[in-house]
Each structure stands twice: as C-alpha cells, then as structure tokens.
C-alpha cells in the first residue's frame, strides 16, 4: 500500500520557518533599494513533491520594513522593525523554493511593498508625522541642503546621494523635514570637490564605500539643520549579487515591486 502523503505543512512548523528564513535572506540579499525587511508572518505554504528528497515549496510571506538600509552590514537579527506609529512599510512576497536532499534554494521571488495607509496611522496617532512622497520639493530641498552642509564640513571623502529612503514632514510643533538617504563616497576629498565637483565620481566597485545619512531640517520657529552620516567602509559584495545600478539618484517609493 503506497505510503500516505505527508500531512500538509503548517505555517509555524520548523520546516516552514526554515524556508521563510532562506527566502527573507534571499530577498534582502537581492534587493538594491530601501531597507531590509524582516519576517512578520508566514501567510501560506504549499509543498509540491517532485520525487524522493525533492520538493518545490511555494511561500506567501508578510514582511515589515526595518530601520536598516539595504546596504548596511548590520545583521538582520539586529535590525529593528519600524513601529506602526513610525508609519510602517509592509512587504508582500511570493517565493518559490526548491528543497533537494534537505538543502533549500530560492528559484524565484516577487514582492510588493507599500506604506501603511495614512488614515490607519492618523486614527491611532493623530500627531504622528507621516511618510511624504520622496519627490516632494520640501524633501528634495532638505536632502540637498543636508548633504551640502555635511560635505562642507567633512574631512573625509565627498559624498554623493544614492537614493532617498524615507522622508516625513512634521507640521507641529513648528515645521520640520526629517529625511533618511543613502550616500556613496567619491574619489574626491571635500576640498577637491569645491574646485571641480564634476570630477567627483563614486568609487569603483572594488573600493566602494557606501553610507547612510539622517537629517532634520527645522524651518519654524527658527531655522536649524542637523545631519549625521555614517559610512560602512568597503564591503565585498557576494559574487552573485549585482551592485547598485548606477548612476543617478533613485527615489525609493513606499509602493514598489521587485522580482
């Protein structure tokens, strides 16, 4: 009598969690924009037996954005998930994996990320500042002023903007633009950049040095600008992961698809 098919996997079974961990690491490892995502919930899992020790696994995952930029070397386990009040961004991913002789590998993934609805946040936290569209002129102006301010004071390399990750505008008390953006070190010192900024290019892949800045630009009651940038130092990217697509600046919109 043929053996009865194994009972369907539950979403909280160890095998499902192991598959989800491989999937999340793959998604973060192959993403080039925004922030790292953490697993919030395994929505569904389906296993299709191909043969002895050979299964295809279909996972439906619910992820949440963390505070770690995608290029940060910080391990995902140390990345804090953005709270609901900080205007969380959710990722819905469908991932296809193969499990051969117990080894899991990702065959394909498709994700859609989107910020939580403004109404939901306002309902719970009326005064919480909300995410702004990243091509908002106030946001663009604040990022430009912050990076210029940093470059005018740094003794390190001249930094170029890679992408704006997040921005919020606080309308009371006062008027403040809070931004987060990714930067890359160039082949110029800040001094050299003053002479000929056009010659300042991002460092080549084998010397690349990325970083991240946070800035708060207060407009009222009085003008103030706080900028903090941290460079990660050169990181050797894993061989099968392409580096950021150059050149130019990209704006990581909360709603985006990646495959």
């Amino acid at each position: 009598v043929p053996a009865a098919p194994p009972a369907p996997l539950g979403c909280d079974d160890p095998e499902s969690e192991a598959a989800a961990e491989v999937a999340v690491n793959y998604i973060n490892g192959h993403s080039q924009h925004g922030y790292k995502f953490a697993l919030n919930r395994i929505e569904d899992i389906r296993v299709v037996h191909q043969g002895p020790n050979n299964d295809i696994i279909f996972l439906e995952l619910d992820l949440l954005e963390t505070k770690c930029p995608i290029l940060s070397p910080t391990p995902l386990a140390n990345c804090t998930v953005r709270s609901f009040a900080e205007h969380a961004v959710e990722g819905d991913c469908d991932v296809k994996l193969q499990k051969v002789d117990g080894t899991l590998s990702v065959l394909a993934s498709k994700c859609h990320s989107h910020a939580d609805s403004r109404e939901d946040i306002i309902k719970i936290c009326p005064d919480c500042p909300l995410l702004e569209p990243l091509n908002n002129t106030d946001v663009l102006g604040a990022v430009s002023a912050a990076l210029n301010d940093y470059n005018s004071k740094t003794t390190g390399p001249y930094l170029r903007l890679l992408e704006i990750g997040r921005a919020k505008i606080q309308y009371h008390p006062g008027h403040a633009v809070v931004t987060e953006f990714a930067v890359g070190a160039t082949n110029c010192s800040a001094e050299e950049a003053k002479a000929n900024v056009g010659a300042c290019q991002l460092l080549p892949e084998d010397q690349s040095n990325f970083g991240f800045c946070t800035a708060v630009m207060v407009k009222r009651p009085s003008q103030d600008l706080q900028v903090d940038c941290q460079l990660y130092g050169h990181q050797v990217p894993p061989p099968d992961i392409p580096l950021l697509s150059w050149p130019g600046v990209t704006y990581n919109h909360p709603g985006q698809d990646t495959s």
């Binding site: 996997l9 079974d13 953490a38 919030n40 949440l64 709270s83 969380a88």
Partner: protein
C-alpha cells in the same frame, strides 16, 4: 449487502463523541504574527 443510509442518519451515528474540553487544533495557516498586523 451494503445499504445506503441517509447522510444525516449516518452522520448522527458516525459522529465521534468529542471529549469534554476538546479544543480543535489551530488552522495550519496563516502562521503567527511576529511583530504587528498592518
């Protein structure tokens, strides 16, 4: 010979008595929420 009994009657007879306090297992999916539900 097999006689086909009405489903309701069969169900009545075949209903397995549940032990007192029986809690059905949670549905296998979706799984637990690790942070919060959006």
């Amino acid at each position: 010979s097999l006689t086909k009994r009405a489903v309701a009657e069969a169900a009545q007879h075949d209903k397995v008595p549940r032990p007192v306090g029986f809690v059905p297992p949670p549905p296998p999916c979706p799984g637990k929420i690790r942070h919060f539900d959006i």
